[in-house]
Symmetry: C2
Subunit: 356 residues, 2 copies
């Protein structure tokens, strides 16, 4: 994986995965430009790239305004396309916002890539949510596409843009479908960013972990360093049979077991069970486990970090940097839940406790 | 199929399939309201509903402004959702326009349906183009989704909205995936509306038929009366296993054979072969043939009208009404092809001859 001297563009580069990828790219000698709009509540955090701030160029823009940074696109050897809204629950409350961010903006960005850098290698951060409630486990790439929320529909449309424009020779895209990703630099100051973000926040705040339902649903979280590695490999892959790859963790554990492992890593009390909130029930997918065989076979990637280890590393990371990730006082996490108002605003931690 | 006294809403009801459906619904005693924006070049034509103009209410609106006709939605027993842009070629030249019409507008409309008429029966006009270039023939509903153009991506996203909102109990939707539909009331005064529209226009204008490539690709055109019947059945279906159904014609014929049959029905000379234009090559899907087994099994529908018969009936229809469908003089068909300008405008027939 030679990235030395390459011009690399990372959309959503101040976000969780994008920033971890950026740090690694700089280590590998790439010249990295980040495009990130730093939208409130979307996960971007300038502190994420503190260690490499001097070596990285940051363009504060939305990818839907790609014409503004056309020259950067034109100069890119590889584009990692991670800009997007990840909250499934928010997408149900604000579907048109999700459509704008995950589909309309992607269309504009990709058309600009096609025009300014025809045939450029691009790696897209997709989601396993496009499969919906699994018909079988583990879920392979041939599983039917049946998203249970708007986020899944819109991310899938963006996936199709990448596929179709690759078929026409306008792009040279790889699409990764990520399961629950966790690790350092995930946003803790925004609600509805996934249960692992909530676990980590609550543990750091000394709040008990709560599990919805009976806690027997399986998840296979994947540690962010493993995910970064999958992007790096896809960014330089040649001559593969496939273009879409599932990216999942090394083990499937029940939500109760994941909560117990996380609580134990933090020295916190045992988690408690809670009934499933109504608005989450509809978009719940039951158990999920990734079939990683295709990416293992074609890209020689496999997940290495087990959850017990990864969650400990994650907690260690935040303990040293808490003020950057969980601002204190009345100015707390950002939420755009409808019971507050149509527009994102900051919540108090008391409110957060009710919503995540 | 009892529609007597039912309130039925038809989006895109001045268009080709929508107007044929409306005529039949009126015959069956339904109270029909049409919503149609009459966008230039999109196929809507007020003359289409001439025979029932007194019995039908027409709301001149875009479905993305669904809040304007919320009361009509709330009062609907069945909604036939046919509004949309069908041109694959236009979608490649104006992708964001296609996204707006086929996805954004559908999202707004369906959210309004969910709010005003939760659980309402809705039948969506999808397209076989979502399958892309077939991996096997005939194509069944389990075929992978690999659209080769933006139109297919956007129509598929709208399909997913219907499916997902049905899963959550917000709608009660059926999705039909139509192959090439032809018959009376298809738009002749717009280019890029499909090869059958072009055939009919050229025959009526006394121009020779032209076939791209070697003419050996298969198509299975379905006559509009058959399609109307599939909508009517889906509008009243109960307790089916499936929600998505392919709707194809009774026979698969080569493009050359279809052209010969059409020319012969019109008493015109033999068609001529032409090389494939570049912009169409990318979005060509090769041969296509529908597997109609699922809709036969679950909805007891099968296509009845063979092409030789249907094309004759189609030509007869237009011969009596030509001025309503092919205005003469310099004000000809509408085109929004990029070589003319970004905005739709009317073409002269000389220009049309070059573009279809």
């Amino acid at each position: 994986m030679n990235y030395r001297g390459l011009n690399v563009l990372v959309t959503g580069g101040l976000g969780f995965i994008g920033s971890n990828l950026t740090l690694r790219l700089v280590e590998l000698g790439a010249k990295v430009t980040i495009v990130d709009p730093i939208l409130p509540g979307c996960g971007g955090n300038a502190c994420n790239i503190d260690p490499v701030r001097e070596s990285v160029r940051v363009i504060g823009a939305d990818i839907s305004d790609a014409a503004q940074f056309r020259d950067t696109i034109a100069a890119s050897d590889v584009i990692f396309n991670l800009a997007g809204e990840i909250s499934h629950l928010h997408s149900m409350h604000f579907p048109e916002r999700d459509l704008q961010i995950n589909t309309v903006a992607q269309l504009r960005f990709l058309l600009e890539c096609k025009a300014a850098a025809r045939g450029v290698r691009i790696v897209y951060a997709g989601t396993r949510q496009v499969y919906g409630k699994p018909r079988y486990l583990p879920v392979d790439e041939g599983h039917s596409i049946e998203p249970v929320d708007f986020n899944g529909v819109h991310k899938y449309a963006a996936t199709q843009y990448h596929r179709m424009l690759t078929r026409t020779g306008d792009l040279d895209a790889y699409m990764l479908r990520l399961t629950n990703v966790y690790g350092p630099r995930m946003a803790l100051d925004a609600v509805c960013q996934g249960f692992l973000s909530t676990y980590v926040r609550r543990l750091l705040l000394g709040q008990p972990l709560e599990i919805y339902g009976d806690g027997r649903q399986l998840r296979d979280p994947v540690y962010v360093d493993d995910v970064v590695q999958s992007f790096l490999i896809a960014g330089r892959a040649q001559g593969t049979i496939s273009r879409s790859f599932n990216v999942g963790g090394p083990e499937a554990l029940s939500l109760a077991e994941l909560a117990r492992l996380a609580a134990s890593a933090a020295g916190a009390p045992e988690p408690v069970l809670r009934p499933f909130p109504d608005d989450r029930k509809n978009i719940d997918i039951g158990s999920y486990r990734t079939d990683n065989n295709r990416i293992g076979r074609e890209l020689d990637w496999s997940p290495r970090v087990r959850f017990a280890d990864g969650i400990r590393r994650t907690l260690d990371f935040y303990r040293e940097r808490l003020p950057h990730y969980l601002p204190t006082g009345d100015v707390g996490p950002v939420c755009n839940m409808p019971e507050h108002s149509g527009a994102p605003r900051r919540l108090t931690y008391a409110e957060v406790a009710r919503h995540s």
